[in-house]
Symmetry: C2
Subunit: 158 residues, 2 copies
Amino acid sequence: MDPQPFHDHDHHLCSDAVMSQAEAMLTASGARLTPVRRRVLEILLEQHRAMGAYDVLQRLAAEGFGNQPPVAYRALDFLVEQGLAHRIQRLNAFTACMHPGEAHAPAFLICQGCNTVAEAPAAPVRAALESAAADLGFTVERASVEALGLCPACREAS
Amino acid sequence: MDPQPFHDHDHHLCSDAVMSQAEAMLTASGARLTPVRRRVLEILLEQHRAMGAYDVLQRLAAEGFGNQPPVAYRALDFLVEQGLAHRIQRLNAFTACMHPGEAHAPAFLICQGCNTVAEAPAAPVRAALESAAADLGFTVERASVEALGLCPACREAS
DNA sequence: TCTATGTATGTAATATCATAACACGTCAAG
DNA sequence: CTTGACGTGTTATGATATTACATACATAGA
């Protein structure tokens, strides 16, 4: 999967590609990418980071949208439901999905140096988890896998 | 690892064993198991569930300890540091560690039916995660793996 | 024994994260 | 042209967590 988050790259390629995919997906599914929702997605796409709902809200408010928490939470929840964003439990924050449409139950790598959040391919991780769970008779429905650590750049810098 | 959380068992065997181990570990390390800390551990050990800090606090207050959040958070943080409790990110809640002393970076299995939380052996899961991370040059320091699903009993009942 | 020091606890105040409930507007189907 | 579904705005409140400071308590060193 995509190592880009951790390296210099032309970020427009990321965000533009995701925006197009998002539009296509939502058109196909009939869900509506309203101005607030679109703007929230754009804001999340600005960086490979996780943003708190209140940070997003502040941005929205500054641009003339509503300035009460539900405005942000509703848009964020919508994006999460549509698979366009992920919630990072550990940070109480949200990040744009960089691979919308692709079926994926990602693992998140959170750099403690630069706060970058990347999605890692988690199929083997999930397989191992489901196997461990099955040994106890437990059926996994959803799982969150979040790792804290250092990205290549921050590791080198430290 | 221990499938007990998901089955009928003499729970005193769990909690007594853990309490003894906890005492031994802390005596050895020089850390102090003060009344508040001991009581919090006992409370967590009452069930194979996760408890919110404010639930713990309520219990403490009812027993004559302080009734402000830091009282609970400090004791809980202490137990987590000492490896005697775990924080479940997904639930904003805490659970007693059922295998203190054993080196382990567990995966948590959270039953959506009965709220039981079990620790599953996570060595293979972590290995898979570290491997996926290494492919991106990322070094994992700490990770949380939390699965929602159904335990054997609740699965059968549903 | 006394006192200085570090550690633990108690409390007030506040910060941060999240949701419930209701009002209003828009738009498309009937 | 009305109705109903959906989206947005707003008020209020709930739930989770931390900062800062005061007090007590244990214990090692004078």
